[in-house]
Amino acid sequence: MKILLMGHPNVGKSVFFNRLTGANVIESNYSGTTVDYTCGCMSLDGKEVEVVDVPGTFSLDPKDKAEEVAVAMLEEAKDTKDAYVICVVDSSKLERGLYLAMQIIEEGYSVIIALNMDDVAEDKNIEIDNQKLEQILGVPVVSTIAIENIGISNVISRLKDAKPVDVEDIAVRGAGAA
């Protein structure tokens, strides 16, 4: 089993990674430190699970080296049975994050969405209806504040609910209530 952590640069992916594995990766505010990808191990129900911290990327249409690496790593994971993608989304920039998440879903991966940095979203007075979002997308959606270790275990416990979703269904559900 393998878990890929994906998301935009600077959404707190590396902190997330540290929370899961406690490995020695450097987490910084500037993009770039994670260009060399880092991977570590986590134990889940007594099994060893590989966790990969994929370089931050804005979309699956690579624009620079780090993004190329990210896309290549995602491709690689296709061959692995039981590959999950945790897509870390900045709650205060939901649309941009969903764009990436949607692309990954379209590729047929089992995705979990972690809405990260909730405190900032709150500062800006943004509220996101998790359940509604989960219902529309058909993938688990969990709120987290990685830097304070809030919601991380929720993400892991919801892993089992992640499954590939047909984007057509999302389109129907997404358009339906609008």
């Binding site: 939901l94 943004i126 997404g174």
Partner: protein, 412 residues
């Protein structure tokens, strides 16, 4: 099935409409402060204040408290006399290499009375590594890590972006530049955040030549506290002048990058601790062996008469062109192994203040230490050769210019 980008955005917009409720958007104090630090009018004074604080804490902690307060006393008062008593064979070559090499003047063997002048592996080598460099590196990386985790560094990058465009880089080049003030080795690795080979080459060359590392800064703070401001001034000016020239002559592009600036936040202590530990320990794995090895090699070269020989050959250049005494040849050779050690050696050579200033600037811009050299080789041998060529030109030109300026203002 896959969507086209437009379909995808439309779908996302419609989803977002359903799940996101925006309260009345309120500019928070945090947002407003964030803006202040990025706008040039207010951001530049703030940046100056941050650098002031950085430097002041660095000097107080590393210089006043650790080195002057305790380590000088420990090494000069206890460690050196103890070694001089217990170690046999005063005057032998082994003794010279390990304990005290600088005493053989006027045909009589005189023991050094402090660790700056002894130049043995176990005396100067250890003193420089532990007494001077260790505290400097710890406090430097601690503050850098704090600034990063608070979120100030990306803002500094945005602020300085326009200036760095002039030298073919962009704001994020401030990251390797500042890292380099700690140690050039991780800074060379950090140049990878720049996109094109041209940018990486300019950055690597500039930081290898013009940015003094934490070890050097620590030593300078200790040996020539009055001159350090001028040394830095010369280096900063050189950084921009040669960056500007390199940008003009190096082929390639310098694209702009989009930077996302994260909000200010409270740093997490566990994260700071881990990062600090990684940086300090990896620095020491590289630094300590080179300081000690550097001592050995330099002492052997001295004993073999190689340094005097080189000094004689290069004397016309040193005296005539750079305007420094020919004894500085030794430290310049040593600078290849460890620059910090070289500054310590310079400090005991008789010369005028301006000569000292020129010599320290020369040592700083002169070759990067072996460890940096190795890192640059890893990044590509073509770049390395290019950098070395630039370096040779820079040392020659800049050394001459500094001498000339000294002459013009009448101090050289």
């Amino acid at each position: 099935m896959k969507l086209s980008p437009d379909e995808r955005w439309n779908l996302i917009d419609s989803i977002a409409d359903q799940v996101v409720t925006y309260g009345k958007y309120r500019h928070t104090l945090k947002d407003a402060i964030g803006e202040l630090t990025v706008k040039p009018m207010t951001g530049i004074p703030i940046a100056i204040a941050v650098l002031y604080g950085f430097w002041s804490v660095f000097g107080s902690f590393a210089g006043t408290l650790c080195t002057d307060g305790f380590f000088v006393k420990l090494f000069d008062g206890y460690w050196l006399p103890w070694l001089q008593v217990v170690f046999p064979g005063e005057g032998s070559w082994l003794y010279s290499i390990l304990i005290d090499a600088g005493g053989m003047t006027n045909g009589e063997f005189i023991l050094s009375d402090n660790c700056f002048e002894a130049f043995g592996v176990l005396t100067s080598g250890l003193f420089v590594a532990i007494g001077v460099v260790l505290p400097a590196i710890v406090i430097f990386y601690l503050m850098l890590t704090l600034l990063e985790d608070i979120g100030y560094m990306p803002r500094l990058a945005v602020l300085i972006d326009t200036v760095l465009h002039r030298i073919g880089l962009h704001g994020y080049a401030i990251v390797p530049t500042i890292l380099s003030l700690g140690c050039n080795v991780p800074a060379v690795t950090a140049t990878r955040i720049l996109e094109t080979r041209k940018q990486r080459f300019i950055m690597m060359t500039l930081l290898a030549i013009f940015i003094p590392c934490g070890a050097q800064l620590g030593i300078m703070e200790e040996v020539i506290p009055d001159l350090i401001g001028y040394v830095l001034l010369y280096l900063v000016i050189g950084y921009f002048i040669f960056g500007f020239i390199l940008n003009k002559i190096v082929p390639g592009r310098s694209p702009e990058i989009l930077i996302d600036v994260p909000p200010y936040q409270k740093p997490m202590m566990a994260n700071v601790r881990r990062k600090l530990w990684m940086r300090v320990s990896s620095f020491f794995k590289v630094a300590v062996p080179f300081v000690l090895l550097g001592c050995v090699v330099v002492n052997v070269l001295y004993l073999a008469g190689f340094i005097q020989w080189l000094g004689d050959i290069l004397a016309p250049v040193f005296v005539g062109w750079f305007g420094v005494p020919k004894e500085t040849a030794g430290p310049l050779v040593a600078a290849f192994l460890r620059k910090d050690l070289a500054v310590a050696q310079l400090s005991v050579i008789e010369m005028t203040q301006y000569q000292m200033l020129s010599a320290v600037v020369l040592v700083s811009i002169y070759f990067p230490c072996v460890a940096t050299f190795a890192m640059m080789l890893k990044e590509g041998w073509k770049e390395l050769i290019g950098s070395v060529a630039v370096l040779a030109v820079v040392v020659f030109l800049y050394g001459g210019i500094i001498h000339l300026i000294g002459k013009l203002i009448g101090v050289a």
